[in-house]
Amino acid sequence: DTAVSQTPKYLVTQMGNDKSIKCEQNLGHDTMYWYKQDSKKFLKIMFSYNNKELIINETVPNRFSPKSPDKAHLNLHINSLELGDSAVYFCASSQSRLPLDEQFFGPGTRLTVL
């Protein structure tokens, strides 16, 4: 009964490829997020969706495109992968977009671009 799940857990790919990471939450939450954690463990928000609507879009290259087919899913598609995209990507969800609502994080997807 995993709350927030991500697939794949590990992704190794060549520069220039296009890849997707999937995220699903079974908590009935309205809001979902994508974060990037770099090699120094610095965690930064990338996107946030509330009921399938984009509400936060940080300064992220447009090679990154989130897609939310329904409020339980938020997938991240990355085009033309670059070396600097190597990181751990975390999906999270919260009941609503209100800051007081706790965010629940997935286990992460470690992306390695060669």
Binding site: V4, S39, K40, K41, F42, L43, K44, I45, S48, I55, I56, V88, F90, A92, R97, L98, P99, L100, E102, Q103, F104, F105, G106, P107, G108
Partner: protein, 110 residues
């Protein structure tokens, strides 16, 4: 195994002692703060939060202190246990956005 985060500030504490992890935040307008724990190979996990109209909040074995004058947040863990070994992040929330601190690795020595 974990090969990242080798240059994180590290706090080594003897088992049973108290731990204090510090965090400086950036925006004086931030009105809500959270401490997260991240164990190896896992996502961050909520520990405790505090609103900007408070200066102290206690949970089970954890206490968060907020000093708005100097924009400083601390997490105190009482009677530190091996299971407390992890990376700890503070986060400040402003305008619906979470801004995470750089993280501190806590190592509990037996």
């Amino acid at each position: 195994g974990e090969s990242v985060g080798l240059h994180l500030p590290t706090l080594s504490v003897q088992e049973g002692d108290n731990s204090i992890i510090n965090c400086a935040y950036s925006n004086s307008a931030s009105d809500y703060f959270i401490w997260y724990k991240q164990e190896s190979g896992k996502g961050p996990q909520f520990i405790i939060d505090i609103r900007s109209n408070m200066d102290k909040r206690q949970g089970q074995r954890v206490t968060v202190l907020l000093n708005k004058t100097v924009k400083h947040l601390s997490l105190q863990i009482a009677a530190t246990q091996p299971g407390d070994s992890a990376v700890y992040f503070c986060a400040e929330i402003n305008a619906y956005k979470y801004i995470f601190g750089t993280g501190t690795r806590l190592k509990v020595l037996a």
